[in-house]
């Protein structure tokens, strides 16, 4: 998928662990893991809002568009 989730990078910058972040935004660690491991098909605006609030960042810091290479 051409949308890359850079949650790891932002979390490392903010020095916050997965468990703590999951608790603060009110989702399960399993769901956060889906997001971190690029397996998510969609992100709710409410989740994105909570992530931006807790990590003090913009949606663009978490999500990035990388065009797929055509063969």
């Amino acid at each position: 998928m051409p949308i890359v989730v850079n949650l790891d990078v932002v979390m490392a910058r903010r020095k916050i662990g997965a468990g703590e972040l999951a608790e603060k935004i009110g989702i399960t660690p399993a769901n956060l893991s889906i997001l971190k491991n690029q397996k998510a098909r969609a992100v709710r605006f409410s989740t994105l809002e909570d992530l931006c609030r807790v990590l003090d960042c913009q949606p663009g810091d978490i999500l990035e568009y990388v065009p797929e290479e055509r063969e």
Partner: protein, 156 residues
């Protein structure tokens, strides 16, 4: 209102499971007493058409009982999965697909019997064919629901 609420869910599932077992026992009884049953039917209900007619009816009954056993087994599996709260899983879609094909098979067997000797079995052909269509549509709905569930499961 309370009775209605209490009745839904587990009880309804249990009733369906009991019905599946009831039809299984009925099918076994039909298979065991097939010869006498056909004799009785020819003598008292649908009219005697000689040895060939009886043989065709008996053969139709036994041939149709094979897809009937498969259908009952798949219904049992479907209900068991639902009891385990595994509704939109690929195993259920496979079961529904098999049930649909079993209905088609019954329709074909009855069509042959209707053409050869028993025209009244044409009604069973139509009913089984229509049932196959209904089950197939339900299967398509389940298939689509699985895709939607997968999407939902991966929405954070």
């Amino acid at each position: 209102m309370m009775i209605e609420k209490r009745w839904t869910g587990r009880h309804s599932l249990l009733l369906s499971q009991v019905m599946v077992w009831f039809f299984f026992i009925l099918l076994v009884l039909c298979d065991v007493t097939g010869y006498w049953l056909v004799n009785w039917l020819c003598a008292n209900v649908i009219g005697n058409r000689g040895l060939f007619g009886g043989m065709v009816l008996l053969g139709t009954m036994y041939l149709c009982s094979i897809p009937a056993y498969i259908t009952l087994w798949d219904l049992h599996r479907l209900l068991r999965n639902m009891g385990r709260e595994q509704v939109f899983v690929s195993q259920n879609v496979a079961s529904l697909r098999r049930i649909s094909w079993c209905c088609v098979l019954v329709a074909l067997v009855c069509l042959v019997a209707a053409v050869v000797e028993w025209p009244s079995l044409g009604i069973v052909t139509l009913a089984a064919g229509f049932m196959a269509l209904i089950v197939r549509v339900v299967k398509n709905v389940f298939d689509e629901a699985i895709t939607m569930k997968d999407e939902l499961d991966l929405t954070v």
